[in-house]
């Protein structure tokens, strides 16, 4: 029996051996992964979804006039500012909240692999009397959503620099990054110093003209004169928030810096009682006597020209928002 099986086994073995040689080898593994086609942090569908969800949340909160509903896609200073606007809107003949258009004409995304990251949009004009709105979204980490933190209307006549498209994304610059000169932080601090010093400062020539500081200086001058007439004093303090500031590289090697500012305007008179506009009454905290302080939560967008920019280009504010958030008696 075994003699008969032996040839069969030999044949089967031969066949198996032959067949084993018939099968091609396992392909070699791919050792170098292909390059990412779109290296930006967000593709257009992603940014569209973020914008849509943000605007939906904002619209729902606007209808209810409740800032508490701004808990997912809207955060940071935007909640505070919007809450103030709801408060004002609830008053008789109060102003409606600032219109934030949902249609965007440009979206700038980050190329960063780390957090926090930013996304910036430029809206269409809400109407003929307003300029496009620059909105800033921030994602703190991978687990949290992009949140709209601030917005600012563009300075009339200003233009935003060209930015890298979503396929590559814009480099996320640290505030102390030396990729641009001066650094974003130095620019913000210099601009704040200019705001503190006023129009006569030497720093005024280091920044391009903008209507934001012109209005600020005009108001300061008016209030200072009024305080002097009442033997009082007008003091204005300006503080940047570098920790909540962000910078993105522009296509020309420059940077776009987004910086919130806190401005407190304290008006004091002697032997008199100050008064405020009726429209600001809902924001009054306390009972006014001889001092009133207006607190603002501003947001500015500064363009730092790159090395490829035209000769003599100066950093300048391209968008700014002046938001009154509180009126206090001290």
């Amino acid at each position: 029996m075994s003699r008969r099986l032996l040839p069969l086994a030999a044949v089967a073995g031969l066949s198996a051996l032959a067949l084993a040689g018939c099968v091609s080898d396992v392909p070699e593994p791919v050792t170098s992964p292909p390059d990412l086609e779109a290296s930006g942090a967000l593709l257009e569908p992603q940014s569209d979804r973020i914008v849509a969800e943000t605007m939906a949340e904002l619209a729902a909160a606007d209808r209810a006039r409740r800032p508490g509903r701004l808990n997912d896609r809207v955060g940071g200073d935007a909640v505070t500012i919007r809450g103030v606007q709801y408060t004002l809107a609830k008053a008789d003949d109060g102003p409606a909240p600032v219109t934030l258009p949902a249609e965007m004409q440009a979206v700038y995304v980050s190329a960063a692999d780390t957090w926090p990251r930013t996304m910036v949009t430029v809206s269409e004009q809400a109407d003929e009397d307003s300029t496009p709105v620059v909105m800033l979204w921030v994602q703190e980490d991978i687990l949290t959503d992009y949140q709209m933190r601030n917005w600012a209307h563009m300075i009339p006549g200003a233009t935003l620099p060209a930015m890298p498209g979503p396929s590559t994304g814009a480099e996320q610059l640290a505030m102390d990054s030396d990729a641009v000169s001066p650094t974003p932080q130095e620019v913000v601090e210099s601009y704040v110093e200019l705001l503190r010093a006023g129009g006569g400062s030497d720093l005024d020539e280091t920044f391009a003209p903008d209507s934001y500081r012109e209005r600020l200086f005009t108001a300061r001058s008016t209030l200072t004169d009024a305080a002097k007439e009442a033997d009082g004093e007008y003091v204005e303090t300006v503080q940047p928030s570098i920790a909540n500031s962000f910078a993105m590289a522009t296509a020309d090697g420059g940077a776009l810096v987004f910086a919130p500012l806190t401005i407190d305007s304290s008006f004091t008179v002697e032997d008199a009682t100050v008064s405020i506009d009726e429209a600001d009454q809902p924001l009054l905290d306390g009972e006014l006597d001889d001092t009133v302080t207006h607190s603002y939560l501003d947001f500015i967008v500064i363009h730092i020209p790159g090395a490829d920019a035209e000769e003599g280009s100066l950093p300048g504010v391209v968008a700014a928002e002046h938001n009154l958030i509180r009126v206090s008696d001290s």
């Binding site: 069969l8 044949v11 089967a12 031969l14 066949s15 198996a16 032959a18 067949l19 040689g21 018939c22 099968v23 091609s24 396992v26 392909p27 593994p29 791919v30 050792t31 170098s32 992964p33 292909p34 390059d35 990412l36 086609e37 779109a38 290296s39 942090a41 967000l42 593709l43 569908p45 992603q46 979804r49 973020i50 409740r66 800032p67 508490g68 509903r69 808990n71 692999d113 780390t114 957090w115 994602q139 980490d141 991978i142 687990l143 949290t144 959503d145 992009y146």
Partner: protein, 326 residues
């Protein structure tokens, strides 16, 4: 070696080839193979290099319940995966096995407790129903509980998800998640390979042919054809043999041939002789036949005619051929 022995050897070789071919045909390796690997995590990851390796082939993942395939930038996927237990499919070891590695979370899972920030919205307070503790916990969607802003594309399936690897944008990571956080069970990768089996069919045909040759030789080996052969030879001999004492039947073709009937009659007139001589140079073969006058050619009549009879060949057109046959 005789022809029959050679055929038998060919038959043996043919049997071997045929059996080998049939066995090989039965064991022919499939071109479509699906190497797989067992997994036991809720998240399975194919990184860009592995997706490039997969090409146009399909990636499959099996599990229980909804399965979601998501793509993301490598940096984003890495950050998200850092909080999950993950199985990475790293390579194909052979045509049946995928290699995998597992990774544990590098950081504690984020707390699911809601934000403590004050809200002027009335928060819905769930009412505890009787026996609520006995109910199983609701499945947690591990994708929805965190931001999904970084996911670029998604594929959905239930119990099994099959994705064409080339549908994932090159450079992106494919993250496959059991959204209810139940472990996935297996992953596989369909592959098409080259199998050099073109020799099997010719081997079978050649084996069959040689086996047939051997079988014929073997059959001839056991059958004795000598009696039939002898009969055949005898029949042939009988048919051809003409004995010396046989006298042709009177009037038969043979008798007439022996009588020289078939030879043409020649005229012995002087004119005919002269005429024949005059054309000697043109037709040398006809001149001698005229000189004999007996109807035979000189030096040739006894060899040509009898020779024809001995060979049993007939003149064409002879009408009484049947009289001479036995």
């Amino acid at each position: 070696m005789s022809l029959r022995t050679t055929a038998l050897v060919a038959g043996v070789i043919g049997v071997l080839l045929l059996v080998t071919g049939l066995v090989a045909d039965a064991q022919r390796p499939p071109r479509e193979v699906t190497p797989d690997a067992a997994v036991n995590t809720a998240v399975v990851v194919y990184e860009p290099a592995m997706l490039a390796f997969a090409g146009d082939n399909r990636i499959g993942v099996s599990g229980d319940g909804p399965i979601l395939g998501l793509t993301a930038r490598p940096a984003d996927a890495e950050a998200w995966l850092a909080d999950h237990t993950v199985t990475y499919v790293t390579e194909m070891l052979d045509w049946e096995t995928l290699a995998t590695t597992s990774a544990e979370p590098v950081a504690p899972s984020p707390s699911a407790s809601p934000s403590a920030s004050p809200s002027d919205e009335p928060s819905p307070s769930p009412s505890a129903s009787d026996g609520a503790d006995e109910e199983e916990a609701e499945p947690v969607d591990i994708v929805a509980e965190t931001s999904q802003d970084h996911w670029r594309d998604e594929f959905r399936g239930t119990d099994r998800l099959s994705i064409k690897a080339s549908d994932v944008v090159p450079g992106e990571v494919l993250v496959i998640v059991s959204t209810e956080d139940t472990p996935l069970t297996a992953t596989d990768l369909t592959q098409t390979r080259d199998v050099q089996d073109g020799w099997i069919t010719p081997l079978i045909w050649w084996g069959a042919f040689l086996t047939l040759v051997g079988v014929v030789a073997l059959v001839l080996r056991f059958i004795d054809f000598r009696p039939a052969q002898a009969k055949g030879e005898e029949w042939i001999n009988k048919r051809q043999r003409v004995s010396d004492g046989d006298e042709p039947a009177p009037g038969s073709r043979r008798a007439r041939r022996e009588a020289g009937e078939h030879l043409p009659e020649a005229s012995l007139d002087e004119e005919a002789v002269v005429s024949a001589r005059s054309v000697d140079s043109a037709s040398p073969a006809s001149a001698p036949s005229a000189e004999r006058g007996d109807g035979s050619q000189p030096g040739w009549p006894d060899t040509t005619v009898p020779g024809l009879n001995e060979m049993g060949l007939d003149e064409p057109g002879d009408g009484d051929r049947g009289e001479e046959r036995p």
